[in-house]
Every structure is written in C-alpha cells, then in structure tokens.
C-alpha cells in the first residue's frame, strides 16, 4: 500500500551533489519525516518530489504511476500538495482568498463564465468560499478571513499555508518545517492538526527541525546528510543509530538525547 515511492533520486547544482541516491516510500495515513542538518538536501528533495525541480537521476512514483519530472500543477491534480519552508503566501490577497485558491482544481471553470459572472461561476465561488471558511476555522484563522494575508504573523502564515495545502484535498501532503517560528502552543496545535489529517488517510511527508515534534508524531524517519540517506527507520531506532548521532546530532548529542528521552 505505497502511495509515494522515491527511488534513487538525485540532482546536482553546478558541481555540487545536492541530493544523491535517496529512496523511501510513504503509505496513506503514514507520517514520514525527513531530518538532517542544514544543507542536507531536505528542501531540494521536496522540490523534486513536488515537481519544482526535475530530478537528474532516479524515479518518483505516485500511486504506481511514474511522475518523475511532472509539472507541479499536474502533480496537484494527482493529489500532491505542499507547503514551503520560506513561505509562498499570496501576499496581496485576503486570507480567505489564499485558501480559496487552494481549491483551484475544484473551482476552476470556463473563463468566459468568470468574465461574465455567470451563475455557474458564482456558484463555484460560493462553494469554495464555504469550504475555505471551514478550513480557516480548522487552523484557527477564521477571524482573520478578510484580512490581507501579508498582515498576519509568521506563525499564522504557517497555518495559512497548511490550510491552503489542505484545500486541495490532497492524498499526500508535503510539509516543509510547518512549526518553524511558532511558539509552543502553536506547535502543539500544528502537531494535532497533522496527526488528525494523517488519521483521515492522507500520507504525510514532513521536514521539521523540532525534534520533539518529529519523534512524537512520525511513524518513520529518513535521515539525510550531505544529500545522501544515512539511515531510516522508526523514531526509536533512528535516534539510537550511531551514524545519525555522529552526523546529524554531532556536538549536540547531549541535547538530542534529552530531546529523544
């Protein structure tokens, strides 16, 4: 029951091997985390899986179909959705409109109908608006719906991106550091949200620096270092792996032990 399978993918930038020969798989309802020090290639891997970069080596399959190098919008049509580490918010749109745009695949229709505001177009907008409002409720942003997105705090923007990604009704959701810049309470909320989404059968691929969170919610962890996979397995196994402690946790081993313990 594999939904996403990544086999031996790699990409070079200039002479640099950004990612090399990485493989793993994610099943529906499973939470898989990718961890590793800064520059390990986590975001680059995300960009390849979501079609932003075309892998130079290897193969990516979604639900058994080869989707290597497929454009992001085609992947979205197949149920792959993502958030961004450094936020890609639609700044000049309202919070509500951001999430409504996440429903694009569901609400799009003939442009002529949109130009003339035909009833069918208005109906699509109204339905989307209702759905988007419900999602904002879910991430705790309902009261900010009409505000301009750029006016939100960093933590709120992170949640807005998750709501927008969920609006797609994804089968697999890629979250790039969803808890970065969030306080403890917000992190816990995001934590719950992710677990809840996974429980509904969505496969989740997570990049996160908050080790406590990763250890708590992941079913499976993939460890990258300098573009290569150095370990994978259940949280408890990975955190005891000497290679991981050396490469990833390094001098912070004590702190990591604390985090794991």
């Amino acid at each position: 029951m594999t939904l996403l399978s990544v086999e031996g993918v790699g990409i070079d930038f200039g002479g640099l091997r950004a990612v090399n020969d990485v493989g793993f798989s994610v099943s529906p309802g499973e939470i898989v985390s990718i961890i590793g020090p800064n520059g390990a290639g986590k975001t680059t891997l995300f960009n390849m899986i979501s079609g932003v970069y075309r892998p130079q080596r290897g193969r990516i399959a979604l639900d058994g179909t080869d989707v290597t190098g497929m454009a992001p919008n085609r992947l979205a049509e197949r149920g792959l959705s993502r958030t961004f580490q450094n936020l890609q918010i639609f700044q000049r749109m309202s919070v509500l409109e951001n999430v409504m745009t996440g429903c694009h695949l569901r609400e799009r229709g003939p442009v002529l109908g949109d130009l003339l505001s035909l009833p069918s177009s208005r109906r699509r907008s109204a339905a989307t608006s209702a759905r988007a409002n419900a999602l904002l409720e879910r991430v705790g942003l309902a009261r900010a719906a009409e505000r301009e997105a750029s006016s939100l705090s960093y933590g709120a923007l992170k949640r807005l991106e998750i709501a927008r990604a969920l609006a797609l009704e994804p089968r697999i959701l890629l979250l790039d550091e969803p808890a970065a810049g969030c306080n403890a309470v917000e992190t816990e909320e995001i934590d719950h949200l992710i677990a809840e989404v996974a429980k509904s059968g969505v496969a989740i691929l997570l990049v996160e620096h908050d080790m406590k969170m990763v250890m708590r919610i992941s079913g499976h962890i993939v460890v990258l270092d300098r573009g290569e996979k150095i370990a994978e397995g259940a949280p408890a196994t990975v955190s005891r792996n000497p290679k991981v402690i050396e490469a990833y946790l390094g001098t912070q081993a004590a702190e990591a032990g604390d985090a794991v313990g």
Binding site: S81, F90, H104, L105, S121, A126
Partner: protein, 319 residues
C-alpha cells in the same frame, strides 16, 4: 463574500454616476470629446489591469492590438464590405487570435525580457501599418467609415449630436469593460491569476496551470486594447499608425500604473488624469514634457501602488 460583491457594485455605481453626471458641468461640446477620450483610454487600461495588475505580466506592446482594432475598422468596411460595428468585433477576434498565437512563446519570458518581446511585437505592428501604404494609407493615416448607429438612434427618437453620442458610446463601453474586469477579479480564474502574480511556484502547487492562465489574461487584455483602438478610430473617423506605436503603449501602461495597477477604478482614474493633464498643460505647452515626466516619477516614487490605492490608504489611516 457579500462584502466583496457590494464593493464591486459600489465601484460600478460610482463610475456610472460620474459618467452620467459629468456632462452637467460641461461648458461646451468640446468636453464631451475629452470625456470620450478618457473612456477610450479607460477601456484600454482596464485590460492592462487584468494583465499587469492581476497576472503580473508586463507588456510594452499592447498598442499593437489597438492598432489591429483600429485598422480593422478602417479597412474591413472598404475591402470586405463589413459593417464598421462588425469590423470592430472582427478586429477584437483577430487581436485575440494573434495574442493567443504570440502569447504562447512570449509569456514564457519574465520581467524585462517579456517587456522587450512585447515591445518588439508592438513595433512590428506599427511598422507594418506605416509601411504598407498601399493598403493602410501609410504614415499619413486614412479615413474611417461612419458607424451609423447615431442615425439609427435618431430614427427611434434618441437625438444626440456627434460628441454626445460618442460620449455615451465610449462611456458605456468603458463601464461594460470595468464590469467584466471586476467580475474576473473575484472569480476562480481571477484568483488564480492574482495568485500566480504573487507566487508562481505556490500557484502551480495548488494546481494552477500557469502558462494557460497567463495566456488567457494576455488574450483578454488584447481584446480590450483592440476594442479601445476600434472606438478611437470610429470616433475620430480617422486613424494613423501612431495608434499602434511604442509611445501609445507606454502611455497606456503609464496611465495604468500611475492610477493603481491592481485596481480597475484606479487605472481609470489614471487614464482620466493623464488624458486631462496634457489638455490642461496646453497653456504651458513647452513645459508639457517636463511636467509630465516629473509627475510620472514623483507618483511612482512616493505612491508606489498608484494614485487611487495610495489615496484610499491615506483616507483609511485617518479614520
């Protein structure tokens, strides 16, 4: 959404009221003509709001489409025996097709590269119009047939003089154009366009077919430009290749950005101010360029979002 709908309707009501009530203050027929010029420009800049303001794609060649629209009205009645009104629609269709054909490769370009490609297109159109004198009449221009709608209206009891008729015709066209653009703004396609403007990569990941939507915006704005060119030709009964020239393209982009590129009423205000300004400056004719250039720089430096959005923000701030 009800709030948003009412904003759209409010905008339309204010625009319609201004168009309808302004003639009460006109001391002479000449002012109907200036009003018509504002509306023709207002229609063109509304199309540019869709392209530049919504989709974030620059064009320095949209006058090329105005040229196609204008010369469709000038040539089709004589060569094809088409009614000028149908020629206007035919020109709009032709502009749409041309925009669709050149938009596919051009819109892969970004920023300044897109600017130079569109500029190249506009210059090609104006050059063909100027150089194929055997067909187009060349740089000296040519006459345009009478639309004939005014006499038809007179026959059913609506008697308007020429200036009044064109004031009404261009005013209604501009209002219709504004209505369509405002519809688009809050529609699924409009959201997708504005989304790709803010972040192309995020728009893609939510499923927006970026190339297709940019192309749609390009075609829509080309149709606007074409219609405005047709109206100008029919109203003046005369047209020269300048309508397609680089300066005309720049003038319209300037009006749009000056008034507020993301806002339909803003761009129309920009069209009004920059159409009126040269009229007001005719007294200071030798200073016209100096003042125009200065105003363009000052507004863009101190009111980055354009005249109307900046003014609105200042008003809101004071409340």
């Amino acid at each position: 959404m009800t709030m948003r709908l009412s904003r759209k309707h409010l905008t339309l009501i204010v625009l319609a009221a201004l168009v309808a009530l302004a003639p009460a203050f006109f001391p002479s027929n000449f002012y109907y003509r200036i009003g018509s010029l504002i509306f023709v420009n207002g229609l063109a800049v509304t199309g540019l709001v869709v392209l530049i303001g919504f989709a974030g794609q620059i064009s320095l060649g949209h006058a090329g489409f105005a040229g196609i629209g204008a010369y469709a009205c000038a040539l089709a009645p004589g060569y094809l025996g088409l009614h000028p009104g149908l020629a206007m629609l035919g020109g709009a269709g032709l502009s749409g097709v041309v925009a669709w054909l050149i938009g596919r490769p051009i819109l892969r370009l970004k920023g300044y590269y897109l600017a130079v490609a569109t500029l190249g297109f506009g210059i090609l159109v104006s050059m063909v119009l100027a150089n194929e004198a055997g067909i187009t009449g060349g740089p000296d221009g040519r006459e345009v047939a009478e639309l004939g709608l005014r006499s038809a209206l007179a026959a059913i009891g609506i008697g308007l003089n020429n200036a009044q008729f064109w004031y009404a015709a261009t005013g209604l066209s501009m209002l219709a154009g504004a209505w369509v653009a405002l519809n688009l703004h809050d529609s699924p396609s409009g959201r997708a366009l504005r989304a790709l403007h803010d972040s192309e990569v995020a728009a893609r990941t939510v499923g927006v077919d970026v190339a297709r939507l940019k192309l749609q915006a390009f075609v829509i704005s080309a149709v606007y430009a074409s219609l405005s060119g047709s109206l100008l030709a029919l109203m003046n009964r005369f047209i020269t290749p300048d309508v397609a020239g680089f300066l005309h393209s720049v003038e319209q982009v300037t009006m749009t950005v000056f008034g507020g590129v993301g806002s339909v009423p803003g761009a129309i205000l920009g069209a009004a101010v920059l159409t009126l300004l040269p009229q007001a400056l005719t007294v200071l004719q030798q200073y016209e360029n100096l003042i125009l250039g200065l105003i363009m720089m000052l507004v863009m430096i101190f009111m980055r979002d354009g005249l109307l959005p900046s003014l609105m923000r200042r008003l809101k701030g004071r409340e």
